[in-house]
Symmetry: C2
DNA sequence: TGCCAAAAATAACACCGTTGCGATACGCTG
DNA sequence: CAGCGTATCGCAACGGTGTTATTTTTGGCA
């Protein structure tokens, strides 16, 4: 054998970095392998050697997005109060999306037409959402939340954060709208909607 | 002058129809003006005469999508009970999305990279969501919902339906998951979260 | 009937993702 | 230390895209 692992890691990172910049600057449409290679001072073939194809390169961005997202989720302090913790995780979700909106598009809104995450990437994505389910399961077991399947609650929470954030990112929200305040209220309203009926006073802290 | 308005209306409809089929069959990536023109037995130039550009053609699909969506919203019977009516509109929203998922992608998830709706189309989109705000405003005035800005509640409701539906359409929901049931529950939990605290028993029917 | 502008066809342009081919450069084996 | 073999990468091409300049067709009105 010969030359088994030259694969320039610095070039790999540079390409990923530049790819993110291209998408962030001019939208997913502007990510072209030719421009990317030219910017990095190399050729399109290098991209194929390093990643395999354009979707594979996007898959690397997808993974990086979930890595950052997971890190942000993991470092949000939890209190043990289910409603407060769900709101806090929702805040982290939005903060992550606003910090890297182009990555959010790749991760959740399929902003690059040809791309589907591979099995590893999907597994990582599922893992990242585990903390959410843990909180909910606990709240149901403790009788704080109503007795419905935990997946139902988890999907509901994911749905509202994803819905509001993607509406915000695609510019669908009205002008002069206090997004931060409304987001907070909507999350709280949603979380409180899952409380057991006899516990549903508005602020159980 | 001569030949001021030949603009074949039948061809226009045929192109729109076929464009929808192409996207529905193989995704937004598969909508190519050349293939579209060939399928319709004409040339790409005809598309430019009729629509102007590819984004303009997509804009026509966007408008058609909101037309169907608005019609479905308008014919859902309302009871006057805010929670029930919000759930009913949410059901109609999902039914519309599942009936024309490719149109939903164009309307709400920017599934075609180069496309932005023009001013008329955006206006139509805003009009379509008016019934929602009317119900909410009434519920707040009547003291059924908590005293928060109506836009906040409207965006919250829109957020959860959009979030859940787009998660469903992009295949992000787990297998063996009763979407219909969970969707219904999540909508109800969300709507009830906006009730005034003293009214928040679970089933006020 | 004939004119003339609008509509549509042909063919070109610039760009895209991808891929064969050839040159290069590097690690392992002798 | 020499050199072989292969992974890597630059060049150039292929088929595809949206778009447009040019030319041809066509149909309503004078």
């Amino acid at each position: 054998m010969a030359r088994p692992r030259t694969h320039d890691e610095a070039l790999r990172l540079k390409l990923l970095d530049r790819a993110g910049e291209l998408i962030a600057a001019d939208g997913p449409k502007a990510l072209s392998l030719r421009k990317l290679a030219a910017d990095a001072g190399t050729s399109t073939t290098a991209v194929y050697s390093l990643f395999g194809s354009k979707p594979d390169l996007v898959n690397a961005l997808y993974t990086e997005g979930f890595r950052r997202f997971g890190a942000r989720m993991a470092r949000t302090p939890l209190t043990g109060d289910a409603v407060e913790d769900l709101v806090a995780l929702g805040r982290a979700y939005r903060a992550s999306a606003l910090a890297d909106p182009h990555l959010y598009g790749i991760m959740f809104t399929r902003s690059i037409p040809g791309f589907e995450p591979n099995e590893d990437a999907e597994q990582l994505a599922r893992e990242t959402l585990k903390p959410l389910e843990r909180i909910i399961r606990r709240a149901i077991e403790d009788g704080v939340f109503a007795d419905v399947p935990p997946e139902t609650v988890a999907v509901g929470c994911w749905g509202i954060v994803h819905g509001l954030v993607s509406l915000e990112l695609t510019g669908n929200l009205p002008e002069e709208f206090d997004v931060t305040e409304s987001y907070e209220r909507a999350l709280r309203a949603n979380a409180e909607g899952w409380l057991r009926p006899q516990n549903s006073d508005s602020n159980p802290s």
